[in-house]
Structures are given as C-alpha cells and as structure tokens.
Symmetry: C2
Subunit: 204 residues, 2 copies
C-alpha cells in the first residue's frame, strides 16, 4: 500500500538518509498505534516503505534504538517540564504548571501519547532506561501534591492516564486541537481539585 507523504518527510532536508530515517519513525509510530509495538515487526515497517529490512537496520541497528529514538523528543520535553513545574513555590502552582504543560505536551505528541500511555513494550523500555522516574513518578507527585496521599496519587493517576488516552483517542478526532486542549485542562483541574487561575490566559 502506498504511503501518503508524511509530515516528517515534508520537513526533511535534502539529505536522503535523514529523510528515510524520519520516514521509518513516522511509519513505525503509525503501525504501533494500529498493531501495538509487540505486534509490529521490522519487516512490516520495511514493507510499508517499500525498502529492505537491511535498509532499516542501516538507520537503526536494534529495535531498542528505534524505540528510543521515537520517544526521545517527548522524553526530553517531559524532563524539562517536570523541572520547570517543580520550581514553583506552592503545591497548587506545581500541579497547575504540570497539568497545563502535560496537556500541551500530549497535544504536540498525540499519537505517541496514546502509545506511551498504553503499550506495555514501550513501558518496559522506559523503565529499563530509567526514564520511569521522570516520566511517571515525578509528574504524579507534582500533579497530586495539592491533596494528601492516597487521594492525591489516585487523582494524579486518573488525570495523567485519562488525559494521555483522551488526547490520543481517534473517536474525538473531530474536535480542533485548541478546543480539546482547553477542555482537557478544565477537566484535569476538576480531577485534581485545582481552582481555576484568577487571571484567564485568553480573553476570547
């Protein structure tokens, strides 16, 4: 089956190797969403792109290298977000920053969010790479900090997993990104027991 030109491919430079690398990642993400990571083979990725398995191996020497490269940008953003949120003085400020930043992050990486929030193979990889602490433990602590445990932890887990699954949900594809972003933040605030900020960010 022919693949439509991907966003990744359209923004590549003239270096053909880089273009293929980006296309492999783009196709992998789409196949993971459809078949799960465990249900996707390197052969399926190669077939979809009309290239050989050897050509895929040229860009990613192992399956783990491909997975790591795929999650790396989101992991970096999450690390920066957690640090920025942790710098606030109050538990409410930390939770509010973590919530709005997490919604923005999931909206920028919608397909990846759906996979990260649900796929056991990806979860195992992140755990093995010691990303688990910054991707799950620290965000949960920051989000749930406005309430004592265990209520804070349950709220935070529902908010984190609920937002990630909802942002990646195809059933809601008819909502424009800006509306979904605002609604996810509102829902997240209620879930976490956070009062809305006094000064609205937009005055529309």
């Amino acid at each position: 089956m022919a693949t439509a030109p991907s966003r990744a491919a359209s923004r590549t430079d003239n270096h053909a190797g880089e273009g293929t690398r980006e296309r492999i990642l783009d196709v992998a993400l789409r196949l993971f969403a459809e078949h799960s990571v465990a249900g996707t083979s390197l052969q399926m990725i190669a077939d979809e792109l009309g290239i050989t398995k050897a050509a895929v191996y040229h860009h990613f020497h192992t399956w783990e290298e491909l997975l790591s490269t795929l999650v790396e940008p989101a992991v970096e953003e999450m690390r920066a977000l957690v640090d920025a949120a942790a710098a606030h003085r109050t538990p409410h400020g930390r939770a509010e920053h973590m919530l709005t930043g997490f919604v923005d992050l999931t909206m920028r990486h919608r397909r990846l969010s759906a996979i990260l929030s649900s796929d056991q193979a990806i979860a195992r990889l992140l755990k093995a790479q010691a990303h688990y602490e910054e991707l799950v433990e620290r965000p949960l602590a920051l989000l749930g900090g406005a309430l004592p445990d265990p209520a804070g932890r349950i709220n935070a887990t529902v908010a984190l997993s609920g937002i990630a699954s909802t942002a990646g949900n195809d059933l809601l594809g008819d909502l424009d990104d800006d509306t979904m972003r605002k609604l996810l933040i509102q829902t997240g605030r209620r879930t976490l027991g956070l009062r809305p900020p006094r000064t609205p960010r937009t005055t529309s």
Copy 2:
C-alpha cells in the same frame, strides 16, 4: 518457569477439562498484561501451563474464541450496568449510576480492565463483535450527560480511560480495594462535575 496455583484453578470443580480451560484463561490474562495480546502466542500459553498447543486448541478452537471467552463476563456485566444506568430519570442520576457501577466493575476485573483500556488487539476484537457501542459509546454518553458536548464527552473519556488504567495499575497495588474504590468514585465525580450524593453511603 513453574506457575503458582491460580485463583481460577483453586475454585474449579473436579472436572479436569473445566480446570484446564480456566487455567488457560488465567494464564492468558497474565501474559497479555505483560506482553500485550499481539506479543502473546498460543505456544507461550501452552508452555506456561506445561501442556501442548493441541491441548489448548482442544478448549479454544481459535485465538478469537479465547479472547471472546476472556472478555465475555465483563462485557455481560457492562451491558447490564449500562441498561440499569440508562433507566434513571435525570442525566445526573444516569452519570452517577454509570460511574459507581463502572468503578465496581473495573475493581472486580482489574487485570482485564488494564488490558481492555489499552490493548489495540482487544479493542479491534470488540469493535468487530459490535460490542463497541455498549462498551464505549453508551457509557461515554451516560457519563458525560451532565454537561453539554464537547465538554461532557471529554470529561467522560478522561474519567472512563483514567479509571480503567488506574484500577489496573500495578504501582497502586499497595492500596486496599475498598480505599481505591472510594477514591476512584470521588475522583470520578469531580472529573465529571457530579455533586456528591446527599446521603453518604458510609458514615465512618
């Protein structure tokens, strides 16, 4: 690797065939949680039980039959729950019944909930079997009914997916079931914008 006696096996009768059938389902559920459905083979299930693939096929003629049998009890409970919730007069009554019933259901089927809420292979099967309407569409409509769309739908999706993932989350395994059940209902009410019921159910 030897398998500890499962709960399913311990409550089986003396009919050896029934016992094996239950043990296959129990092991399948555990392997699905660990490796995803796509990452689990019939051979892995057989190996784990120390039986042959033919013995597994004797009980379940196809992979789809095994998956269907596994989800059937939860699907039946969900169908009954949705009908009972839909019978309430008000949107608030319908959402409250659906929420408390859904939390109870996920707590009764914790491992299955984690898989149902995340595994693409199971989601595809349920869609193919036309269970999608009653398992996803009707619950979302009942849960979100207290607010107009799209806010109601976003709230409902966050609540449904958040509760299912949280109930199946190993990280929260140290909470006893009753505490988790109460906290999930409280969090769910806030997420959905439902006021707490006037008469508390317990007075502790």
